[in-house]
Amino acid sequence: MNREQIMIKERVKTAQPVVCDAPNEQKYGDSPQGLIKYLIVGIVFGIVFTKAEIISWFRIQEMFRLQSFFMYGVIGSAILVGILSVQLIKRFNIKTIQGEKVVLHDKEFRKGQIIGGFIFGLGWAITGACPGPIFAQIGSGFSVVLVTLLSAIAGTWLYGKFSHKLPN
């Protein structure tokens, strides 16, 4: 290993996490046809987001002003269904449709979850959107949100660029 490679390796270590936060643990690569199912899940998801008006700036304001139960109901029931499903998958060792064992990762505590989480919360209240709704807002015809998306990509890039200098 030459010096440059060692340096990169060290930088990688400090720039945690280099692993993907939403990992793909499927052993075999996805074929283009295999990817269509994620497009369909995404489309259904986008319709739900839009029809339940979760993508509305006003819903997020109602939530942060504690003036409506709606978003708490959405997030709370989503988590409940998620917990039940994950428990069922674990208990009955349900396999993927390819027959693989489902792999779940434990999240490691880092300071970033507090600092980064707070920063994201500030942005969530301004834009009235978390990353999912940003895409659905654009699809719904609010084309100016493309600027928000480009900024969010830039923000992600800035984090990657300076992550090794940030407390974590």
Binding site: Y38, K107, F120, G139
Partner: protein, 192 residues
Amino acid sequence: MEQLIETIKQPWPWYVAGPLIGLTVPLLLLLGNKSFGISSSLRHICAACVPAKIPFFTYNWRKETWNLVFVVGILIGGFIATTFFANPEAITVAASTQEDLRALGITNFTQLLPQEIFTWDNLFTGKGLVFFVLGGLLIGFGTRYAGGCTSGHAIMGLSNLQWPSLIATISFMAGGFTMTHLLMPYIMAWVQ
């Protein structure tokens, strides 16, 4: 059939939307061992388009193509819902929220996003700078620093009973409350 479409056009209640969103977690796991998360797509876009030899963006993003396909699907879903199943009525916003927002100068409650802010005309003004540019930067920077967003932490992480995700979710809410109650009045006064 017509009646069904009429029903679909109405805004969906939380007890329909929430469980459907929750079902995304087992669906993605069982369809192909994928962990639910949306903000990661922003990282994959960086890795694919502008990696700039930054270690954080130097990985095999092609393996995560599914995540990019998924967010394109969300965009198409937004288009389908608005084009074919749009609610003909204006959005219902809580009276107390309307009152609070009127005090901040937001009076148009007809669309999903306030028309005083979310238009191209505002792009090169204080509103555009804060609501699109700064807001987007905070979302992108914050989610990656936290290692996930509402989907990756609040829904996927909590579904798997991960306590760091609970801390992240509490931090998201703390940031949102701070912006709404402490900073928003100053921001709205500045951009008017």
